[in-house]
Amino acid sequence: MQQYILQIIYLIGSVTFILGLKYLGNPSTARKGNLIAAFGMGLAIFGTIFLYTDSNGEHLGNLGFIFGALLVGTVVGWLAAKKVQMTAMPEMVSLFNGMGGACAMLISIIEFRHLTSTHTADAMADGVNFFSQIPKGFLFTIIIGMVIGSVSFSGSMIAWGKLSGNVKDKSFGKQQFINIGLLAVILGLAYWDIMGESANTITIFYAILALSLLYGILFVLPIGGADMPVVISLLNSFTGVAAACGGFLYDNKVMLVGGILVGSAGTLLTIVMCNAMNRSLLNVLIGNFGGGSAAASGASAGATGTIKEVTASDAAILMKYAKKVVIVPGYGLAVAQAQHVVHDLELLLESEGVEVKYAIHPVAGRMPGHMNVLLAESNVAYDKLVEMEEINAEFSTTDVVLVVGANDVVNPAAKTDPSSPIYGMPILDVENAHHVIVNKRSMKAGYAGIENELFYKPKTSMLFGDAKKALNELVSEIKALG
């Protein structure tokens, strides 16, 4: 009876995941969708704790430990999610994704230990190689779940480190080949282990674990920081597949549905993101970006020349007497927490009769939609955020473009320089405007690690300084103009 109720709970849970994902795809229902999925998840978790019975009809034990672990996870997760700055959101998603991957990895390890301890005793008595007696499908699911889970775990940790600036891009020659070789070794060992032909099944299992963790690190390490959103999205779908392996293991439909949904939706989302940057997934995956940009930054060192600096008061005059100003926000705005000041600037200019819009590049910041989230936080009206295709047609009638902490998304090399690693990525054509004011902290290259010739154009003037400070100065200068 309880078992039937649990299956119905799992059914409800599966439906909430599907509905939740569907609602998440529309701005007006997104929040509801998230809550629906969360409700279904809670139901499935508590249903499992109280109603799950194994094949002998026994309930789960260790309830004290389970609730203890739930409590610890809930408190830590809740606080971390509530306290994190809006700017650090991408890192946080990556971190939580890694936790899910690690969870899948641990499940596989425990199941394997369980498997070996029960089967060893039986086999000892019979004097046969015990692994040849384990159903291959079962072992396959355990090992695949562990491989995917651990790659997702270690990869997410590296992605998290990169986004928070603790881990630098690193690649060495022929790394792609080493990665592919490593993957082949992992798959080969897994095959060997599953076929049960070796006497050292247990050793091989842990070797696969270690190599998978290593692979996750090597997989993400060479990929440039600008590609991290794509990588996180991909690792996200990996974790989904790892969760689905668990569903297979326990014949648990809700795990299977949740895992596969995220796996397929996540993969599609990854491809959509790649398309937004006009690059293929393969190109991102083999770590071409990181390696290529190092060479390219040397090659495009020719993009030097004289830059023109502008003071806040000159920039203020330019903007106050403009008819139309377009603000291009980038990661620099997020880092400086300047979303509120930029909104103040917008309101001030509007009160002076200037038309103000925001140009949102699909991959501005560290994640697609990052800028929308950030600016929405400071109450910038939704319709002021204009997407790239639309705003590009308007730059020729724009008097002043203010680029705040964005770099690669306005780099004309994406259109003109076939050797550039970002060549082919659609960009915001800010150079069509009458004036371009670029606010940056320094002349340092952007996340792709390449020079930006926009800064050397005669139309461009540089307003150096931290985004928040510079924008504050702009606001007070415009006010001072009366």
Binding site: A37, N62, G73, F96, I107, S264, L269
Partner: protein
């Protein structure tokens, strides 16, 4: 191999259907929502926690118990953190007057 597929035919059907559902659901999403969507999907794969609860509930020796405890903690982090972060992002999309 054939036996494995036959024994799990129901699950395999489910997997294939869910792949299509997942693709259909994400097909026409505006790029504005990519980040919350990724974050929401991230929370949903936290369903892996159910597996960790099951292993934890059946663990009998100390090492499995410890590993299981960590698995449940990590899974909970994924679920709770994932949904709360997504909610915080989406809170900002609420309609302006």
């Amino acid at each position: 191999m054939l036996e494995f597929i036959n024994n799990n035919l129901q699950l395999i059907y489910l997997i294939i259907l869910m792949i299509f559902v997942g693709i259909e659901l994400i097909g026409h999403v505006p790029s504005v929502l990519h980040t919350p969507l990724m974050s929401g999907a991230n929370a949903i794969h936290g369903v892996v926690i159910i597996g960790s609860i099951i292993v934890m509930g059946q663990a009998h020796e100390i090492v499995s118990l410890i590993l299981g405890f960590f698995a449940v903690v990590l899974g909970t982090l994924n679920v709770v953190g994932g949904f709360v972060v997504t909610d915080r992002m989406l809170e900002m999309f609420k309609k302006k007057k």
